[in-house]
């Protein structure tokens, strides 16, 4: 009989790592724990890199927290950045839940901003219209714009099986250039690449607007969009976890053949989910122009649409978890403006994504340390 001897090791430590496939169910707390762990490890690695290049990690980290959560004023700034991120992150969550890889949130964001601007710029309302008509109309238009930009790839996928990754990515550029066309040309404000400022009725109420009654609120730019975003998170959670449509999305995402067998109209759901996903990103675009910039202009998004992808994954496609994750990423954006080196924020974002993706390994495998016998 031929039996090969047990493999010999050149050197050996007294302990060894054993990696096993998980046979039992993954514990409920583990996905959240890996997300939090990913963030902590990302900060640790960034700290080591800072140290290596001669910085003082602890000082920088303390400054990071001061600049983002240190006072009510900076918390307001952080939440302003978190607002579009929540909405875009929700849009990605909805699509990813059905395994539709919508990476076109950036374009949907711009189309949402464009359509919402139409209310003021066409104009669709009279100049003295009240806030109560203008804002809801802008929200609806923003969602229509985003939904339209989701419909195109959705329809192409449902009808002709065109890969949505390609179409959504390409449509990002179309949307940005479409926006540019109008602000460079027809709607340009005295030759600048921006439209004239919107009338006050098209502004989402901000905290600073109430500074006269409550002086402490002075300078705080946090706007109503944050409440809209949180409300949207609750609605998306309800749809995904409690509604019939959410069940169909979940089933189709897990096994398309089984969904077809269960009588679900997959083509229709592809289009609807892409539209819903786009509408959320479009609402983010509306909230940004109506709550922050108050006009349509170039570069209204520093890549919110792409950050939304990372957020959806870090939140493990849980709509409620999207909120704290977005606040973290909002903080990273705020910190990026305040901290030297400025690249630290992007560095952290990158490491976080890397950690989240690799930590999925822990959900499927068990690692334990054993004494070498």
């Amino acid at each position: 009989m031929t039996t090969s001897p047990a493999p010999k090791r050149k050197f050996s430590l007294p302990y060894t790592l054993i990696v096993e496939k998980r046979v039992e169910d993954t514990p409920r707390w583990l996905p959240a724990a890996t997300s939090i762990g990913s963030v902590l490890i990302a900060f640790l690695i960034a700290g080591i890199i800072l140290k290596q290049i001669g910085g003082q990690p602890l000082v920088v980290m303390r400054f990071f927290f001061q600049a983002t959560f240190g006072s009510w004023a900076v918390i307001s700034d952080t939440l302003v950045k978190a607002t579009p991120l929540i909405l875009v992150g929700l849009g990605c969550t909805v699509a990813f839940k059905m395994k539709l890889w919508n990476i076109g949130a950036e374009g949907q964001f711009y189309m949402g901003a464009f359509f919402a601007s139409l209310v003021v710029l066409l104009p669709m309302v009279s100049a003295d219209a009240s806030r109560w008509t203008v804002i809801p109309l802008m929200m609806v238009m923003g969602m229509i714009g985003g939904a339209l930009w989701g419909f195109i790839p959705g329809f192409l996928k449902a009808r002709f099986a065109v890969n949505e990754i390609i179409t959504t990515l390409m449509l990002n550029y179309v949307a940005i250039l479409w926006n540019n066309f109008w602000i460079f040309n027809a709607w340009s404000d005295a030759g600048f690449q921006m439209t004239p400022q919107f009338m006050r009725a098209a502004w989402l109420p901000r905290l600073t607007d109430y500074a006269r009654q409550y002086p402490t609120l002075s300078g705080m730019t946090l706007h109503l969009g944050i409440l809209i975003a949180i409300l949207a998170a609750v609605i998306v959670w309800w749809i995904l976890e409690r509604s019939r449509w959410g069940y169909e999305i979940k089933l189709t995402g897990d096994n398309k053949e089984a969904a077809r067998y269960a009588g679900i109209n997959i083509s229709r759901n592809i289009i609807l989910v892409m539209m819903f996903s786009g509408a959320l990103a479009g609402l983010a675009g509306m909230s940004e122009i109506s709550g922050v910039v108050h006009r349509l202009q170039e570069r209204i998004s520093p890549g919110y649409g792409f950050t939304g992808i990372i957020i959806a994954w870090l939140a493990k496609l849980n709509p409620i978890a999207v909120i704290p994750v977005s606040i973290l990423f909002g903080a990273l954006i705020v910190a990026g403006r305040e901290i030297q080196p400025a690249g630290l924020s992007s560095l952290l974002q990158g490491i976080v994504l890397f950690m989240v993706i690799s930590s999925d390994f822990l959900l499927r495998y068990k690692v334990r340390v054993a004494h070498r016998s």
């Binding site: 990696v19 169910d25 897990d254 096994n255």
Partner: protein, 505 residues
């Protein structure tokens, strides 16, 4: 170290999963040069035990010896290094690579330059030795299932396996291939290999095994008994713990009105070739119409056109409503239940819970659906009821479908499809790959449906099953119905003739 007659000795193996004792003090001793059959119902712990031997799981306690030497496996690599190779039920081959490339995959050789020709020759030599013929240059996707299985076995042999674990190897084979496969097993044993053979088919076990070990609910009920004097009935008794009725009792019953009728139905298969060429038949309420045929003669397509999963021409009428070329939802609304051929890829959602899987068709109806809302409390309670009514073995209804054994998953599907109280039940290979206990349970459920007045279309490759359950048997060959006859009056030889395309006598 004393010479030992045993290739493998597993002693007092205990494997505990949360909530389940999968193996409880299990002993298994494999002699050198024997075929040792491992029997047991689905979920009896056979796969767990073999995964321990193959290094995939670690036992909670117990000892493992290979050729007399105690071993601890940390990974499948360690097991392979000790000469243990496992051929899984689901093949793990790369379809676009050649046979040789697949065999070399994952090995450390060649170190750098791949001289395929040299390896082709090595593999041909290995094939000659064991009678496992398959063209080394062929791509995997070009091979039949039987040939692919040979590649899997060659893969383990090439890695120097002297102890082979074959997990239900015959489940995927056609009858002629099974004959050849049993011959291969005997050749391998004659050349000094030792084989553990897992099977549900008791005839095969009695034909090929030297000794058997039987598991029931994680415990050994027969340890290394000689196959001499074993009968099918005795084996079934050991597996299930009670007598098994091999032919379920079918009560005489007058069928009612015609529920389903097909008129001149044509359809194409996935490759765009004609699969159904003018099928006409009718099924009445309280009747089981069996469809006999060699695999791939249009049976799958027949089930799919009725359930709306495949386009067709011609008429499919259920209770006066046209079903042909309608989306699947139409069939579901008309009370058509479907037990699909592929229970993992079509019949269930692997990463969703038992609850989610049992409501796949009822989520649109009250009480689970309340307008746009799904009442998950009701869904959960319904699933709990189904779980106990259909005897589904799982820690809870929150267990994911992919954690279930084949028999339990099939029970989930049956629970869902039967609880819809269908007018028509389309059952495709409902008992394939299941153990005797589960087969009996599922056949009994189908007969209960017949009694309840459901029209049942039963598509099966097991003639024995068709004869036991059907009122009438239709034979399909190359997409045509060759003839329909009463099951009582039908003759096996005649059906066999018609299955291969012969004319009705």
């Amino acid at each position: 170290m004393p010479e030992t007659p045993y290739a493998v000795e597993m002693e007092n193996i205990v494997v505990r999963f949360p909530g389940v004792l999968a193996n409880n003090q299990v002993n298994l001793k494999l002699k050198q040069g024997e075929i040792h059959a491992l029997l047991g119902e689905n979920g009896a712990g056979k796969s767990t035990l073999m995964n321990v031997l193959a290094g995939l799981y670690r036992p909670t306690s117990g000892t493992l010896k290979v050729y007399g030497a105690p071993v601890t496996f940390h990974s499948p690599k360690d097991a392979i290094a000790r000469g243990i190779g496992m051929v899984h039920q689901h093949f793990m081959l790369a379809p676009t690579l050649t046979v040789t490339e697949n065999i070399l995959l994952g090995l450390n050789r060649p170190r750098f330059r791949l001289n395929l020709k040299q390896f082709d020759e090595e593999i041909v030599a290995l094939q000659e030795q064991y009678g496992l013929r398959v063209d080394p240059r062929a791509k995997i996707w070009q091979l039949s299932v039987g040939e692919q299985q040979r590649v899997e076995i060659l893969k383990t042999l090439y890695r120097g396996a002297s102890i082979l674990i074959l997990d239900e190897p015959t489940a995927v084979l056609a009858p002629a291939e099974i004959e050849e496969f049993m011959h291969t097993m005997r050749t391998m044993v004659a050349q000094g290999k030792s084989i553990i053979f897992i099977s549900h088919k008791l005839q095969e076990v009695t034909a090929v095994a030297d000794r058997i070990t039987v598991l029931r609910k994680g415990q050994v009920t027969a340890e290394g008994q000689s196959i001499e004097g074993m009968t099918r009935e005795k084996l079934a008794q050991l597996m299930v713990g009670r007598g098994i009725v091999f032919s379920v009792y079918k009560e005489a019953q007058e069928p009612g009105e015609v529920v389903l009728s097909l008129q001149d139905v044509h359809a194409e298969n996935d490759k765009g070739l004609p699969a159904l060429r003018g099928v006409s038949l009718a099924v009445r309420s309280g009747e089981i119409l069996g469809i006999a045929g060699v695999a791939g003669n249009g049976q799958s397509e027949l089930a799919e056109v009725i359930t709306g999963l495949r386009p067709c021409t011609g008429h499919i009428i259920i209770n006066g409503e046209e079903l042909g070329n309608r989306p699947p939802i139409t069939a579901i609304r008309q009370g058509v239940s479907h037990i699909p051929e592929d229970r993992t890829h079509v019949g269930s959602a692997p990463n969703l819970s038992i609850t989610d899987n049992t409501m796949m068709k009822s989520y649109r109806q009250t009480p689970i659906s309340q307008g746009w809302r799904i009442n998950y409390t009701v869904a959960h309670d319904t699933a709990v009821k189904l779980k106990s009514a259909y005897d589904i073995l799982a820690p809870s209804v929150d267990t994911l479908a992919r954690k279930l054994s084949g028999g339990n998953l099939q029970k989930v599907i049956l629970a869902r499809e039967i609880s819809a109280q269908p007018q028509l039940m389309v059952a495709v290979q409902p008992t394939r790959g299941l153990d005797v206990g589960a087969i009996e349970a599922i056949q009994t459920l189908l007969l209960e449906q017949r009694k309840a007045g459901t029209a049942v279309l039963l598509i099966s490759e097991e003639l024995e099953e068709l004869f036991a359950l059907s009122d009438r048997i239709a034979v399909i060959s190359e997409g045509r119905i060759m003839g329909i006859m009463d099951a009582d009056a039908a003759d096996v030889n005649q059906i066999g003739m018609m299955m291969t395309g012969g004319k009705e006598m």
